[in-house]
Symmetry: C2
Subunit: 246 residues, 2 copies
């Protein structure tokens, strides 16, 4: 039987989603739990993609195969009872044998939360703190230039094994919650995101907000296909994988 | 010169506000910073009161004496640069030499946040998770019986040195934010709170919400002046010292 699970996690205490030798990761904690449930036999889980150290997820998805006489709720509760309480399995559903949590992804949504208000130590791992004024209107304009199908090579880590840097950002939105919390949320819905892509985009949008770039400079940066043209990678704590759509 | 500072902290990683030998506490971190600023000479800080391990504060207040040729902003920035980033000094102001952060308190406000929605691992240190249904109307009624001047001995730790258990709760309110977040906030504004008082009250209010008690049973529990009559202490992570008024 193949199952798909929805995972929520606080990435603060982890070296990222993906398993690494000797490091505490989300994947390794869940695989450890599944191994116990599976009577000591290893279970591989396959996620929609990795998230980096300090990045959070509301609806990460991962599939795995398990042949146990258990209901999906028993599997879910079993895993939850064995993993640390900063990871939570929201649900487990049965899927077809050929379903793949990464290859079948139709779209993903990431959000990035920026606090423009006073520093709040209670939220330090959950928002990106920004202490200067930002031109939000210019940032919104810049986000519109990111929408559509583009080569995003300027916004990711160049990988010798990769030759396809074309992705589609379906929607890029700036949501203001200034009245309640002095926060802005940058939301990105797209068909696929490469390593550091959202954080590099956010870093560049911050440069637009600071007046170091104009919104239309985004067009040139995309065309350059050169990481050096974009600005620095924004910090991980503001980033959340919000949804994975199949 | 005597100064009053406003302190925000995430209590998750601390053994409470108050200094204890060999334990990591809010007070000891700030006193360590002030000692450095004061050229190695110890500075005692006096807070409005302690908070327990895991309890947070938005506006804790503490006074201290310091004779340095520094502006209040220099002192504030100096302390902030020396303390961990889960503590933050919001401001420092000059006060009279006879001002005392504890003895001069007129009122304090505590809030207690309960999540009635699905468990969220990202908020695990910041809300009290409650998985069953609660009768919120009955809880609100019970809170009205707490308002006024009462002997709160049933709701605190009995202390041989203490004979005065009378306090005034000016206002006790239940705030619903069900639409946005499935959370409720219990807010308590009072002239003084004793050890575990808010958390013991919350634990008893939860018993009312569960139907184990009726709202008017609060009257009997107050009259009993016996800790055994109230219910268990609610967990610390939902509690915030929100304001201290002078």
């Amino acid at each position: 039987m193949r199952y798909l699970m929805t995972i929520v996690y606080d990435g603060s205490g982890y070296k990222g989603y993906q398993k690494q030798p000797k490091e505490k990761t989300i994947q390794s904690e869940i695989e450890k739990a599944l191994k116990t449930i599976n009577g000591g036999k290893k279970v591989d889980i396959h996620a929609s993609g990795r998230t980096d150290a300090g990045v959070h997820a509301y609806n990460q998805k991962a599939h795995f195969d398990l042949n146990k006489n258990m209901t999906v709720d028993q599997i879910r509760n079993g895993i939850n009872s064995l993993i640390p309480d900063d990871i939570y399995i929201k649900n487990v559903v049965e899927v077809d044998d050929d379903f793949h949590a990464r290859f079948n992804v139709k779209a993903k949504e990431y959000i990035y939360i920026i606090n423009l208000g006073e520093y709040n130590p209670i939220e330090k791992n959950y928002v990106c703190q920004y202490n200067d004024k930002l031109d939000l209107v210019e940032m919104e304009r810049a986000m519109k230039y990111l929408e559509g199908t583009h080569n995003f090579k300027s916004f990711t880590k160049t990988d010798e094994d990769r030759d396809d840097y074309v992705r589609t950002i379906v929607q890029a939105t700036l949501i203001r919650d200034m009245k309640n919390s002095n926060k802005i949320i940058l939301s990105f819905l797209g068909t696929g995101f490469m390593r550091y892509m959202v954080r590099n985009i956010v870093g560049t949008l911050l440069a637009v907000g600071e007046g170091k770039l104009k919104s239309e400079d985004i067009i040139e940066i995309l065309k350059a296909e050169d990481r050096k043209r974009a600005f620095k990678t924004a910090s991980p704590e503001g980033l959340y994988l919000k949804d994975v759509l199949y």
